[in-house]
């Protein structure tokens, strides 16, 4: 799956807004055939993440079979590195984010059995493990035992995105007990800001994307009770602008991906009804290319698979007809 943007542009919709399901499916299917384009190679470091966004969008569009299951699993397994984690493409070093994308894809296409059969056998502290256990131990090794947060790789870059990704991956594997969840929760609580939001680290500005990662991690840890829901809900609802779309921070432009980060956050604290769902739906639909398929960040811009995934996911949260229901976490 490539992350190449375009070729289509969003906009030019008929009067009545509709979701162009077939066009979006074809768009996602076509992405991996564009290897003669420069951008395909420049986005190699995100290949597995891109595949995840594509597979997710197809599942939500009710077309899970639109990408071949066997090849998908083969590709994911070919990205596994010697230390048990997954790299973004075959031969790449393992990274937390691509590992979690790998787990998410395997979970969606029911591929755990293949992981058990064909995954790498890796020794941790002198003992050999296989399958899910290997991936789980790779992830748990990235948790900082003092602060509770996670590093992205052996270099120790830390932020709340990684913390969420780590807990999410372990939870999907059923191996959450490999890490210290309470400590992770304490770290997130320390990222809460005076305006009700959360940032990338303690003291950092509130940002819708980071709020999503914090709330999703707290949901997985079953500790959403630590959140000031009314204050955060108000801040999140203020992200809706007159045109109906949502922005990531005050005084910034709206963007389709925030339809997901903000709306799913509001769902997790039970406050989604505080924004105007009809206006948001219309905004998301204006961001699609109804002919070539795909979604852009805002009307008139170039489409890409990232915004396609989060546009469709946003519509699903808003209970748009014909879409699979998405889990906010």
């Amino acid at each position: 799956m490539a992350l190449v943007s375009g070729p289509g542009r969003a906009g030019a919709l008929p009067d009545e807004l509709q979701l162009a399901v077939e066009a979006h499916v074809k768009y996602i299917q076509s992405l991996d055939t564009r290897r003669d384009e420069l951008e395909y190679w420049l986005t190699e470091h995100l290949r597995l993440n891109g595949l995840y966004w594509g597979v997710t969008a197809l599942h939500l569009l009710n077309r899970p079979d639109a990408l071949p299951r066997t090849e998908t699993i083969d590709f994911v397994l070919s990205c596994q590195a010697e230390n048990g984690g997954f790299g973004a493409a075959p031969g790449h070093d393992a990274h937390l984010l691509s590992t979690v994308s790998g787990i998410q894809i395997l979970a969606m296409v029911d591929g755990y059995e293949e992981l058990e059969k064909r995954g790498k056998v890796v020794a941790f502290e002198g003992k050999e493990y296989k399958g899910k256990e290997v991936v789980g131990r790779y992830l748990s090794g990235l948790q900082n035992k003092e602060t509770g947060t996670f590093a992205g790789d052996e270099w120790g870059e830390e932020d709340t995105r990684f913390l969420y990704a780590g807990l999410n991956g372990l939870n999907l594997l059923g191996l959450l007990d490999l890490v210290n969840v309470d400590l992770a929760v304490d770290y997130i609580v320390s990222c809460a800001n005076f305006d009700g939001g959360y940032g990338v680290s303690p003291g950092a500005e509130s940002h819708s994307g980071q709020i999503f990662t914090c709330l999703a991690a707290l949901s997985i840890a079953k500790r959403i009770d630590t959140v000031d829901k009314d204050k955060l809900g108000q801040w999140l609802s203020e992200r809706q602008v007159e045109q109906g779309g949502l922005n990531g921070r005050p005084e910034k432009l709206e963007d389709v991906c925030y339809s997901w980060w903000v709306a799913s956050s509001m769902t997790m604290i039970g406050r989604l009804h505080w924004i105007d769902g009809k206006k948001l739906t219309e905004f998301i639909l204006r961001c699609q290319d109804p002919v070539g398929g795909g979604f852009a960040d805002r009307p008139g811009d170039m489409v890409d698979v990232f915004h396609t995934c989060f546009g469709v996911a946003g519509l699903s949260l808003l209970e748009f007809e014909g879409l699979e229901e998405v889990d906010a976490v």
Binding site: R35, D36, E37, L38, W41, L42, E44, H45, R47, F75, S78, A89, P90, G91, H92, D93, H95, G152, D153, W155, E157, D159, V189, S190, A192, N193, F194, D195, G196, G199, V200, S201, P202, G203, A204, E205, S206, H207, D228, G233, Q234, W235, S237, E238, Q240, E242, G244, R249, P250, E251, K252, R271, H273, W274, I275, D276, K279
Partner: protein, 325 residues
Amino acid sequence: MGKYEGDPVWDDVVPIPQDDGEGALAAIAYTDEYAEAMGYLRAVMAAKEYSPRVLDLTEHIISMNAAHYTVWLYRASTLLALNSSIPVELEWVNNVALDNQKNYQIWHHRQILIDHLYDSMSSDPAALKSLAESEVAFMTEMFNEDSKNYHVWSYRQWVVRKLDLFDKGEIECIETLLRQDVRNNSAWSHRFFVVFSNPKYCTPGSKATEYDPKIPGEILDREIEFAKAATFEAPQNQSPWNYLRGVLKKGGRKLSSLECFAGEFVKIPEVGEEDIKSSHALDFLADVWAQKGENEKADKALTLLGDKYDRIRKNYWDWRRTSLK
């Protein structure tokens, strides 16, 4: 023939091509160049080679694609292994950062460099001061391009902690940015961090959302006056209104202490048309009145918000009304 294939410096290296399954490589010349360089990078990484030519190679790859994190990580380990000059590297990184505003790998790379530099000069106050000045100067340059760049602001918080910059100079920097754009929420957020995490007077570990009895009264007064002045400049700017609530909470002061001030923006006469200059002021007053038990006035304010001044969030304001009872 590629750049590296024909270069005697690289004669001893056999590049490792990307194994992406089927699919022929690229018609575009630029793509060939990138693919070749990556092939050589894979080969040197496999051989764990840390040498000056690796620095050249990674610089070349980063010039084509600054978002590939593996390249940055390998460059950092090579720099440290060779004991290369960090200031020289920083100067180069500055230019790359200015050309790649959205990239965050650069900022992590910079942290590794500064960490390393800090260890070598931690007992030399003059050197640390000059390091702090050059970091601030560079961030100012970045903010001239985009004063809300999230990566730069996160990095700035890291630098403030690392080099202990909770001082007057930092506050002045923020004020300069807010004078340029009073709606810069990033600058407001950073100000809160600097003022209310200052180890000289704050309770260690006090959270941003809780009362801290150790904050001196004159600091609270100063912050309130600063935010008030900004609301007069742009009444509909939500940042200073959020800031005011945050300051009151930190200082353990009541919302009602600012009732008169908020009233400057809101006139609701018994008869006739109301005059509302800021929906945030109306929201603030609704909370003040609800706390004082003046539910009728609060209800009127919330109704105005839902029906007239902030209709897109009508459901929210309706919920606030029901929670008055």
